[in-house]
Structures are given as C-alpha cells and as structure tokens.
C-alpha cells in the first residue's frame, strides 16, 4: 500500500519540490500551507508521516505537533520538522512532543527522503 505523506509549508516552492521528490519515489503526497490546515488534513487523511515547516502563519509547526499529540487519532503520527532557525526547538521539546526528526533549512530533498524512509521503515520493522 502506498504510504501517504503530508507536507506543510507556507512556501509553495518548497512544497512543490518536496512533493516531486516523494512522488518520484512512489509516495502519495498531500499538502497544506499553514498549521491549521495541516491539522485538519491530518485528522481527515491520517497520513503515515508529516513533514512540516516550523514557521507558518495561523499555526506554527510546533503548535501543530502539540495539537496532533493531544488527539488520539493523530497522536502517533511521526513528524519531521523543517526549520530555518537552529534554536527553534530544544532536545527536551523534541522528546516531549515525540518529534522524529529536525532538518535545518536549506535542506537536501535527498536527505529528507532518507529520513522519511528511515522512520517509515523502522515502523514497519517494529
């Protein structure tokens, strides 16, 4: 079954390039341009993994993760956070919110794909 990835970023070009990378590698991609929209989509579509930007209008990436963890339906969805700020999130926060990985912008789509597959593959293994 094709894995579904939700990509949330207010930069349309980032969504576009990441989506192409994932689709080229056999994944289904859904997208949102802010945290609130991403949360709604996550509840509705139950993606296998979420890749979200940290700084977004309406609801930040961190607020999105907090909200996801409060909901029984979405609390176990692994999340990778993309951030242009190196000090945006602490290790403690990362552990508390069960954030699977953090990638600093600018990032390599190849590296992002590798991280996503590692998480999905380890889940299947578990």
């Amino acid at each position: 079954m094709t894995k579904k990835i939700l990509v949330a970023d207010d930069e349309v070009h980032i969504i576009h390039v990441v989506a192409i990378k994932f689709r080229n590698n056999g994944y289904e991609v859904i997208s949102a341009d802010n945290g609130a929209e991403a949360y709604e989509l996550a509840c509705k579509e139950k993606p296998d993994i979420i890749v979200t930007d940290y700084q977004m209008p309406v609801m930040t990436g961190l607020e999105l993760v907090e909200k996801l963890r409060e909901n029984d339906q979405t609390k176990d969805i692994p999340v990778i956070l993309l951030t242009a700020r190196s000090f945006a999130i602490s290790k403690e926060q990362q552990e508390t919110l069960q954030i699977s990985g953090c990638l600093s912008k600018p990032f390599s789509p190849k590296e992002l794909l590798g991280n996503v597959e590692d998480i999905l593959y380890s889940q299947v293994g578990n």
Binding site: D10, E11, H13, I14, H16, V17, V18, I20, K21, N24, Q55, P57, V58, M59, T60, A84, R85, K105, P106, F107, S108, P109, K110
Partner: protein, 484 residues
Amino acid sequence: MKLGRNLYAMATIIVVCCLLAGFLAEWLDSGTGKDWHSLYRALRIIAFCIGTAGVIWLGWDHWKTTGIITSIAGQLTDEKPANLEINELSNAISKRLKNYSNKTEQLQRQISDLQIQIQLSQKQKRNTEAIIYSLRDPVIVVDELDRLLMANEAAGRLFNFDFQASQHKPIAELICCENVDSDKSECVELLRQSRQSKTEATRREIELQQDGKPKIYDCIVSCVYDDKQQVCGVAAVLHDITREKEISQMKNDFVSHVSHELKTPLASIMAYSEMLSDGEADDEKTKKEFYSVIQNQAQRLNRLIEDILNVSRIESGLIKVNKESVSLTILIEEQLHMIKSYAEEKNIKIIGQKPIVFDQVYADKDMISQVIVNLLSNAVKYTRSGGSVKIESDVDEIASLARISITDTGVGIPADEIEHVFDKFYRVGANKKQAKGTGLGLNLVKQIIEKTHNGRVFVTSQVGVGSTFGFELPLAAKEKVEAA
C-alpha cells in the same frame, strides 16, 4: 601638763615637810633626850626617795621638752628646702603652662584647619549632592543600618518617597512600605546583601513597575568604605535599560527573521538545484520550471539583501539620492502592475484612482517606487481573502504637498502598537502569524520619505477594520524653489 605641775608641787612640799620634820626630830632628840632618831631617819629616807623620784621625773620631762623643741627647731630649719621645692614646682608649672599654651596654639591652628576642611568638605558634599541630584538615574545611598543617607529626585520618583525629607529612615520602610511582596523589595534585598557580603560592586537587572508599566533597571550596588576599610554604607545606581532591552530583543528578532527570510529562498535554490543535478526533472518543461524557481528565489534573496543594505545606507547617510521631477500617479501605476498578480492570488481587489495631473514631486524614482511597493505589498499581505486595497492620491495646493494613502480592509493594528510600526525590526505582535516579514519594510518607507525626501509618513488603523498608510511629499515646484 597641769597634773604634772600639781604632782611636782605636792612632791616638793612633801620633801620639804619631811626634811623639816627630820630636822625637828633631830633637834628634839638632842634637846629632850627622847629617842626621835628612828622617825628622823625614816623621814629623811622618804624625803630622799621623793626627791630622787622628782629629779628623775624632772629629767625625763626636760628631755621630752628638749625633744619637742628640737623637733620644732628641726621643722623650722626645714623651711628652706620646702621653699626650694615650691620654686621648682613653680618653674615646672610655668614650663607646663608654657607647653599648654603652645599646645593650645597648636590646637587652635588645628581647629582652624579643621574648620577650613569642614567648609571644604561641606562644599564638596554640596557639589556631590548637586551632581547626584542632577542625575537622571535614580541614586540611593544607605548607611550600615540600611537607613537612607542620600537619594535624588529620580529615586524619590521611582520609589515614591520625599527624597529630601526621608534621611535616616529605614530604606525598606521607604521604598516598599514593608511589603515584602513588593517588586521593590528585591532592590532592598540587593542593598542588604551587598552590604553583608562586603562585595565591592554587585550588578543585577531588576524589573520595577513605574507609572503602571514594567521597567527594567540595571542596578549597580557598590559598598562605601570608611578609613579603616570597613563597610559604612552602600550606594545604588539604577539605570533604566528598558529601551535597550527592547532594541536588543528587536535585534534578536531581526537576526532570527532575517536568517529565516534568507534561508527560505536559499532552501528553494538548493533543493531545486539538487533535483536538477540528480536528474529528478526528466522533461524539458519541468527543467524549465525548476530553473525559473531558482531564478525567482535568487532575485527574492537579492531584494531582501538590498532592503537590509538600503536601511543601513540611509541610516549611515551613504546612499546616493538621484532626485528628478516624477509623477506619483505614474509610479503608482507601475507598482500596481507588479503587485496585481500577488493580490489576485489572494483574491484581493485593488481599487485605484483616476490620475491627478499636477502631482509632480522632486524625488528619487527608485526610492519612491520602493516606498509604494512596500506599502502596497504590506496592505495585500495583511488583508484576508475577499478584502480590498484602495489607493488614493491628493494634492494640497496651499501646502504644496502631494499625498498618497493606501487603505486596506486587513487585520488592523492595536492602538498601543501603532506608534512603533515604523520602528526598525518592529513587527505587530498579533499579526506575526498572519504573514512573514523582517520588520524592515515600513522602516525603509519612513527613512526614504522623511530622511531623504523631507516628507512625512502617517498611519491610522482599527483592529479588525483595516489600516491606512500613506505619505506626503513636497510638490516639485516648491522643492525646486527651496533648493534654489
């Protein structure tokens, strides 16, 4: 003495009587033939004994009297050395009096010196007080018992006490009214701790409420030492660093925003480049699209860097301003064309105005274009889908001014933040989530209009209704006349 004389008289009489009685007995013995010999002998013996006793007594008495006389005589002969001592004493006293006199003179001189020193000290104290009173930073000096020694008006204002009538009052009572929960109690505690620890100088940032607003003070507390190097008091100087803190926070926010803003287009450029080099774009159309994104993002990066540099150049006065006679209407039209696609993307209606004929201003075309595009893009950025942005221009012939207003139906700005919107790096707190930005755009507008074009910027806003941003520039004719 009287008893002695009586005894002496009695003994003499008895001796005489005994001798007479002895002579009488001897005469009677020879005349009468009767034997009176025994009586005569006995009387003579008695007279002899008494006489001998009297002689001894007289001798002893004479010896005693002689001793007394000798003693008196001795005392009398001793008068000469006593006079000598008196003279010596007199000399010593004179000498001492002279010494005392010298010392008195010395002391008087010292008193005189001390009085001069006291006057100088009082003058220095008055000078010091004048300096402390004139300081805008609150200053408090307490003694070793934490009682107020000195304070200035600024301290009185900050801690709400009469600084001239509060000397020797406990500082805790004065500045926090013995309320340990008061925010000012931290200051009292700092003074106490510094005095007890005898630390030369302690520095701490303290937050205090002033006029109902929180203020951050850089509190420097120094111990005051006496001649024996013992702590005899503590002096505290409080410097208001609220503004510095705000600027520092704004700078941090700026670095954070700029870093984000620079990294975002850079992230696109790097991601698309990697995709191209990895052969992920297999058809020509996709490749073309990727190249276009890279180009656009590079331009975006360049614009951002230009904005930062422009602000810096204007502030430092290094920017070259090329003024010429330009029509504001034409500049607006050009910029409207550029912003239209962004507005359409967000479903926002742009309402223009009919061109005004005589709206020529003497200005740098590129700079004013930058102002217009910044104001227009802000209006679109902070207006929700379905809203509108209206551009109006007006000419005040009496004041010789051209005025441009851009009104949106956006989120609006809270009243307490409106005065800061043109500050560098400032972003309205409530609107940060609405859109990204560096907090440089409006500052650049203000710098260009007011610093390089002698104009004026203005803003009015209502939360939930919208905002009007605009500027006024002198008309070209007036500007040229003034320049001539």
